[in-house]
Chain length 186, copies 2
Amino acid sequence: MISKEGKDMKPFVVNFSDIGIDFKGNHIVRKYNDIKHIFKTTDPTLERENPVIYEVFEGPIQEKEGELMFLITILYPGTVNGEFFMTKGHYHTVENTAEVYLGLRGKGLILCQTKKGEFEAVEIGPNKVVYIPPFWAHRTVNISDEPLIFFAVYPAHAGHDYETVEKEGFKKRIFRGDNGILFVEQ
Amino acid sequence: MISKEGKDMKPFVVNFSDIGIDFKGNHIVRKYNDIKHIFKTTDPTLERENPVIYEVFEGPIQEKEGELMFLITILYPGTVNGEFFMTKGHYHTVENTAEVYLGLRGKGLILCQTKKGEFEAVEIGPNKVVYIPPFWAHRTVNISDEPLIFFAVYPAHAGHDYETVEKEGFKKRIFRGDNGILFVEQ
């Protein structure tokens, strides 16, 4: 049996599919109005319709050292006046903790940056594993016309520091261009 | 650029496919004669032909705290007189460290046990995520007729304690039965 409290946790398996992910942990849903401040502009139609921008299905893992959180994120396609849908992005509160992504469906970019000002954009998609080293903030951008779905693993005690990203933003924003994507300095 | 020494490690992506995994790290190959002692019986034909039982493709990750190792294992199908091909199995040397598996192809069992004598067998395959909590040894068994391929993530400083498993074995062995699989007490 699975104890979310982790007291008698035993090895377990959970199943997922494109239709019915059942990871038995938290299900986090971010709608447009929850996160509209992260985009450069606003869109009154999106404000009115308030679509889901992304959702996260977590495993039933306690947030303590030694455990590993795993999750699947579905980031839907779309733009806010040309700026691709994206996640809030965060540093880990416990900064010396890495994260590993494995792409399942769709195509996106992981934007990464450090507090020292380094910036990298790395492609994610099926058959791709992205490594985010310790100390790098990360935000995902869906640059395709289908849902971007990826699996992620990180130390369960890492925590999420959203505030630093809210204050400082990421160095670059990703817009749809006439012949692909555009990197726009924020 | 990727520095295997991790000195200036930046976020990076690696690609895999069934044909050409290129994870840019260690490639570990276990042939029959390397691991024949883990099976209940021996097979002279396998000794002569010495096939690869499994191989592991690791990411280019330094084995230090804060980093996460990722890898893909291919465990080939077959038996030693009916006992399914399997991995050596190990505890983590740093015992309070978990591991997450994601099945990609094929079908197998993860045998798990603790030093207190608990034992669990958990199924792995496509669309399945297996969680191995801290303190649980783990061994993978291919119970299908095709290669079992899975992705795994664990803290890079965890280390491998093979010795305890060599001495004590796993509580159960998995054989091909007339109508499926047989669990045999060792």
